[in-house]
């Protein structure tokens, strides 16, 4: 799941949906300032009982774990099912970049249950979520009409018009059913 400004509160609500063990790894990439020190697993500690982590370089990906990209590094996923931190150039002035994580996931050969993109004021993520869709996985974009910042979901839909749209009414039910579905 990727998002930028306006996505933090959504992510918090999504984490609250995780009330039982997850059949997949759930990875959040949120744009944050370089020096943002607050660790999201600590911040969200009371919201779920499922394990939360900021993956470190070379950690193995686990199911039933929620991961948050650390600030100032791209979070890549390798074919060996390990996380890789990368300090190379920013994308759209962002590190972590959502594109970087999405593209690496699409290329890793690891099955992706779904990719989702939410509110944000940059075009990061559009390329990556398109690549995931074209690799045959399910992709969802928040309806820009009710996103706090429209640019990110709009850019994703502009780049590829076959993403499914997440509407306000059933946003959380839908996400919950995707998380716990058994396909892919």
């Amino acid at each position: 799941m990727g998002g930028s400004s306006g996505s933090f509160a959504l992510f918090e609500e999504i984490i609250k949906l995780v009330t039982k063990p997850l059949p997949c790894a759930l990875i959040f990439v949120l744009h944050r300032g370089k020096s943002s020190l607050s660790e999201l697993p600590v911040l969200f500690n009371s919201k779920t009982k499922v394990r939360m982590e900021e993956p470190q370089h070379l950690d193995l990906l686990d199911t039933n774990c929620i991961y948050f990209a650390v600030p100032d590094y791209h979070l890549l996923i390798g074919p060996d099912q390990r996380f890789y931190l990368d300090a190379a150039e920013k994308d759209f002035f962002s590190r972590p970049s959502i594109d970087a994580t999405f593209i690496s996931a699409a290329q890793s050969g690891i099955p992706i249950k779904a990719a989702m993109l939410f509110s944000g004021a940059s075009e990061d993520g559009a390329k990556g979520i398109r690549q995931i869709a074209e690799a045959g996985f399910r992709t969802y974009v928040q309806n820009p009409d009710f996103a706090e910042a429209q640019k990110m979901p709009l850019a994703a839909i502009d780049a590829y018009d076959k993403h499914q749209i997440l509407n306000e009414e059933n946003l959380f039910e839908e996400i919950r059913s995707i998380l716990y579905s058994h396909s892919t």
């Binding site: 470190q56 370089h57 070379l58 650390v70 100032d72 590094y73 791209h74 890549l76 996923i77 390798g78 074919p79 390990r82 890789y84 931190l85 990368d86 300090a87 190379a88 150039e89 970087a100 593209i103 690496s104 290329q107 890793s108 390329k127 690549q131």
Partner: protein, 271 residues
Amino acid sequence: MIVLEYQELELLIVRVREISGFDFSGYARPSLLRRAARYLTKHAMSLSELIVHLEQGGKVVYDFIQELTVNYSEMFRDPDFFISLRSEVISYLESFPAIRIWVAGCASGEEAFSMAILLKETGLYNRSLIYATDLSERVLSSAREGIFSLGHMRTFSENYLLAEGKYSLSDYYHVAYGQAVMVPDLRKNLVFSLHDLTGDGVFNEFQMVSCRNVMIYFNLEQRQKVFRLLYESLAMFGFLCLGKRETLRYSGYEEHFRVIDTRLNIYQKIK
């Protein structure tokens, strides 16, 4: 955007080795893949065009290798690290009559100059020798010149103050032709030389080795080999400094070090 596949990347690694002798096989694939794909996109090239282009050899391959081995650096990068060095490590180094420090993967010298300034401000510089190495001859020659842009110096000055520097960074350089030139006094005990962490061996024994933001580019196996090299280059009770998100995890040497600073990844060799 150009998409590059892992198999194509392997092909590219082999060709680069054949053309230039430079071997990327110990580097982390996901990062290499991302950077190689960005290179192709930026230069609007396909993989086969790139290979033809690289076959010209010389500067062309060199530029490509340069792009793939991130050289970004800052003086007093992660200012907290220098604060921790001063409080946790310096007092220990003081007990040595002669101090040898190795900055491995020094880029254009930013970190080595920061180290020299720190040693100067703690009164140890005159009996210290800093060896700063990198595999890129280009960054080394710019390090030897000790010239930085004034724009970068502004960021470095902010870092210096955050690192609790005692004076002002501008005390350590003068401005000539719109650029910052590090003062000769700082370069006195600073040696820049070529060293490839993936191919060259131990060349001295050090009280401290700083290898920050370099390990992250290696794959698991290569990383273990480099850890071995750093371990063997350290004197007993010497210090190993890694980057902000680089730990001893998966190094094979966890048992041989004691943690001095968990957050900033400073370790001490204990066996």
